[in-house]
Symmetry: C2
Subunit: 150 residues, 2 copies
DNA sequence: TTAGATGCAAACGGTTTGCAGGGAA
DNA sequence: TTCCCTGCAAACCGTTTGCATCTAA
């Protein structure tokens, strides 16, 4: 049951990607679909190198160039989100349609926690009014460490 | 009057840096003080390359290596803050002791606006309680564009 | 058939590092 | 005098690009 649900969900993702590719007259290559599948098959955040290694381990050889190229498309159609957690390399995660969230990063390990606080929307609105702008996206990240137990 | 006030303020900054260097048994080299001065003499955000060029124009030749080295010290003693606005290079700004603020970035030009909304503190507290952590710092950045006038 | 995509490797650009020479303590 | 710091240039590493080859349409 659950398995089927997940499959159905991925079918939907696949369809979104297909529609996007068709709309923009991009080719539907097997590489692109395999990358999409690999990304949606795993949880959490990843960087390009990790994804590259993972696909190698799964016996599917793609070039880094194609990974960068495809990630670009996935970002453009909203299926993947890009983060830059204070480092000089990018991290990504599959978009979770109905669960907008922000991040807490452990200073030492880099471990990522997710949360959502609706009050951020109020701040966003205020910023939009203050500068007379339209916010397209935002990034809220807290950094810190476990509380020292007393 | 105002000029004097600024100078006094910089004297104070200088003193903070000196105390930091002494405390950590780091040498008080002229390069380090010149870099500090250059950073506090200008407004807004900057990256290493910009600072490098600017110092060259002011007829003071420093190596990039020394800039990176010194910035590290300034970050460590809290006189400078580091940002990574979604790019793969870092931007910095002098710390403004009494004016905590966040950023709005224009997607096209990269222009930076600053704001402060106290409601972020409430979100921070909630995150600390939720994950039982202590937040050491955070980053809140909105990205967007000017409102299209109708 | 052909324009767009892939794979490979070289180029790029910000940052880091190794090392010889220089200067603060 | 000592050894930390500086300047220079090479190394690093994530990302981008050029190009020959391949393939979806």
């Amino acid at each position: 049951m659950i398995k089927k649900g997940l499959d159905d969900n991925f079918e939907n993702i696949r369809k979104i990607f297909t529609e996007y590719l068709e709309k923009h007259a991009h080719r539907k290559t097997p590489e692109r679909y395999t990358i999409l599948k690999e990304i949606f098959a795993t949880e959490g955040h990843f960087d390009i190198e990790t994804l590259y290694i993972r696909m190698k381990n799964h016996k599917y050889r793609v070039s880094r160039a194609t990974l960068y190229n495809t990630i670009e498309l996935l970002l453009d159609c909203g299926l993947v989100t890009r983060h830059q957690f204070g480092t000089n390399y990018a991290q990504f995660e599959k978009s979770m349609m109905f669960t907008q969230h922000d991040h807490f990063i452990f200073n030492d390990s880099g471990e990522v926690k997710e949360f959502y606080d609706p009050r951020i929307e109020a701040i966003k609105s205020t910023v939009e009014e203050t500068f007379n702008v339209e916010v397209t996206h935002y990034s809220l990240t807290f950094y810190g460490h476990a509380r020292s137990k007393k």
